[in-house]
């Protein structure tokens, strides 16, 4: 379970999150929607531990443990995974090398045994197969020269291999055509599990047709201003965010 309590965050003296509260239970898929500039991406970065932000107050508890005290890699090992809106390119680091380094580092941090190369290869092949990622792509530099859709698929592949407890999808639908959206959504749905929860950040209801959320939260001015079921997303799609832009101000 992830609990965010009274989170206040700024970057370069600009206040972004203003006492945000949010709880995501195990097995729950929570969608966060909201207008541009409402702080959605900041929230995802702060949970994952990006160092650029000033945290003034509040807590983020993963199964009762405050992750704000932890380095990004320790948070990853504890089970937090952020699928980036814009996955970065790393020339010269073969995707396979990167996947292995990440998996082994997390296992090591958790005190688990290293995966054998054979087992690692098997897992990669299985998951890549589900996502339609060809083997030769895994030999290329990570995300180098990949299309938008390929990069997002690669994020889901990483998520599948790292088996996190808490997954954040930061506008995973942006830049995807309808076919890629389906593949990526199926990839996410396949990972839904009792002990795994998701925070799906999106502007549009469309993604939520494929990844059907249990709860929908509306963010404005750095706070959650309304929460509801999946029908809330449809309401937003029909009425826009105009009602919420003024709500918290």
């Amino acid at each position: 379970m992830l609990e965010i309590r009274n989170l206040h965050v700024s970057i370069e003296d600009k206040k972004i999150l203003n006492g945000l509260n949010l709880t995501v239970h195990d097995g729950e898929v929570a969608a966060i929607m909201g207008p541009n500039g409402s702080g959605k991406s900041t929230l995802s970065y702060v949970i994952a531990g990006k160092p650029d932000y000033d945290i003034h107050d509040g807590e983020i508890l993963l199964d009762g443990e405050n992750v704000l005290e932890m380095d990004p890699d320790a948070r990853a090992a504890a089970g937090i995974f952020l699928a980036f809106q814009y996955p970065l390119e790393i020339p010269g680091v073969a995707t396979m090398t990167f996947l292995k380094a990440a998996m082994q580092a997390q296992r090591k941090a958790r005190g688990e045994e290293e995966l054998s190369t054979a087992e690692f290869m098997k897992r990669v092949r299985d998951q890549a197969g589900h996502l339609g990622i060809p083997q030769d792509m895994l030999k290329r530099g990570l995300n180098v020269g990949f299309s938008g859709g390929e990069k997002k698929r690669m994020e889901i592949l990483q998520m599948a291999l790292l088996e996190p407890k808490f997954c954040i999808l930061d506008e995973t639908d942006s830049g995807l055509d309808i076919d890629a959206l389906k593949v990526v959504s199926e990839g996410v749905n396949r990972l839904r599990a009792k002990d795994r929860s998701f925070l799906v950040i999106t502007h549009y209801q469309r993604l939520l047709n494929y990844i059907v959320p249990d709860t929908v939260h509306v963010m404005a001015h750095g706070q959650v201003v309304k929460s509801g079921g999946k029908e809330l997303a449809l309401e937003l799609e029909a009425n826009g965010y105009a009602d919420y832009k003024t709500l918290a101000a």
Binding site: G49, P51, L88, V93, A101, A105
Partner: protein, 446 residues
């Protein structure tokens, strides 16, 4: 402004005092003696280069070279035999120990035949010291590295030994020729090795140099390698500079490229206190492809300088330069790349890039690309970047679970890897990747 002759430094005085005796004791027939004297006169006129000599702007030898050291002695026969027996001494520190290659061992500037074994069709290796005395096969000596440069002049004046390598026309050498330069002894000495390589028309060869010496000994080396690349020859040259951590190493590569020759050279710098590698390349035919690259991993107070002089003297030439520096602590990196495109050298295609990653606030990089283009139908470009590791990339890797030192090491290995990719021989490239990993690991646990 008239030239000012500065007061001679102790090192300059010692070099000048040492030459008369050295001239008598060093090998060489009358022709070689004349060559030595002419070179020495050039040095005596100019002295050690300093920061007001543009080519040496960032590597002030007048300051760095506190004193001149006695010349290192050759190994005697008994020492060489003992060395061959004490396997550990010879194998320790050999980055290419596993490499399947023809081995040429040069200890303290002197060729050691008993430790060398070259048995390849179309390849002859001779002792340079002998050749200097007999005059056989050294007509090209000094013709490829003839710039008016004090380091070159000092090597020509004091060269002790080395090898003359001949690759016959059309020969395709089956495995790399590995020149292993070892500096031995607890006393700091001066060492001046020289290598002359002639690659015949259409021949193909990979030449590897590895330089090593003991840590904590402030020895000085000044090596010159000349490579005459015949028409349509295909040459790959890789140099690993793993001299001791107190060493001052000057090295020069001179090459004269024949028509349609393809020449790739990489210099990889790891450990010495001061390293200066200079490349003089001349395009003497059309349709030549030259690729010069370098990678340096620097820490502490290390100083590494790569200086190029590429002379596009004929049309339709292509040159590529890629230099990568990773600089930690208070270390200093220097890249100077001068590309000259002569009026006749139309259709020249030149691309030069120097990239540096600074890992500390006190690290320094000097980038000085210099393009002098006198032809009007050319495509030449250069770029230089210098900065810290990308924070966003670092976060991406850490968000996947890689601890900071591992994430940084992965990014740095990839950065250096772009230069190492140019090495065609897999085991040579893997050996240098292993060196890189060892350096990064040492940094990660620091």
């Amino acid at each position: 402004m008239s030239d000012v002759t500065p007061i001679r430094t102790p090192a300059e005085n010692a070099l000048i005092a040492a030459f008369p005796a050295a001239r008598k004791s060093l090998p060489g027939n009358a022709h070689v003696i004349a060559l030595r004297e002419a070179a020495f006169n050039r040095f005596e006129a100019k002295g050690l280069p300093h920061r007001r000599v543009e080519e040496w702007k960032y590597t002030d030898l007048r300051t760095a070279l506190r004193d001149a050291l006695p010349l290192a002695d050759a190994l005697n026969v008994a020492d060489a035999a003992a060395l061959a027996q004490s396997d550990s001494c010879l194998s320790s520190g050999d980055a290419f120990a596993e490499l399947d290659a023809h081995r040429v061992v040069i200890v303290n500037g002197h060729f050691v035949p008993s430790l060398s074994s070259v048995n390849a069709q179309g390849v002859t290796v001779n002792d340079l010291a002998e050749a200097l005395s007999t005059g056989a096969g050294i007509d090209a000596l000094g013709t490829m590295a003839k710039a008016d440069d004090s380091a070159l002049a000092l090597n020509a004046a004091f060269m002790q030994g080395g090898v003359v390598i001949d690759i016959a026309k059309g020969a395709s050498v089956d495995k790399p020729i590995y020149l292993r330069f070892i500096v031995m002894g607890q006393e700091a000495r001066a060492i001046y090795p020289r290598v002359l390589v002639t690659v015949g028309e259409g021949a193909a060869v990979t030449l590897i140099e590895a330089h090593q010496g003991g840590d904590g000994i402030a020895y000085q080396t000044n090596a010159v390698v000349e490579i005459k690349a015949g028409a349509k020859s295909h040459i790959q040259h890789i140099r690993l500079n793993a001299h001791g951590d107190a060493a001052i190493d000057l090295s020069s590569l001179g090459t004269d490229l024949g028509e349609a020759a393809e020449f790739k050279s990489m210099n990889f710098v790891m450990r010495p206190a001061l390293a200066r590698h200079q490349v003089f390349a001349r395009f003497s035919g059309e349709h030549i492809k030259l690729d010069v690259s370098g990678a340096a991993l620097l820490k502490g107070k290390q100083h590494a300088d790569s200086t190029l002089y590429v002379d596009h003297a004929m049309p339709h030439g292509e040159s590529r330069e890629l230099f990568k520096h990773v600089i930690d602590d208070e270390a200093v990196g220097v890249f100077q790349g001068k590309i000259v495109v002569q009026p006749i050298a139309q259709k020249t295609d030149g691309r030069m890039m120097s990239q540096a990653i600074l890992l500390s606030d006190d690290a320094t990089m000097y980038n000085k690309p210099e393009l002098e283009i006198f032809a009007d139908d050319v495509a030449c470009g250069h770029g230089a970047t210098c900065g810290a590791l990308d924070d966003d990339l670092l976060f991406y890797l850490r968000a996947r679970g890689l601890p900071k030192p591992e994430a940084e090491a992965l990014m740095l290995a990839a950065f250096i890897g772009e230069a190492l990719e140019k090495i065609e021989n897999d085991s040579v490239r893997e050996a240098l990747e292993a060196q890189t990993q060892a350096w990064l690991l040492a940094r990660a646990v620091k």
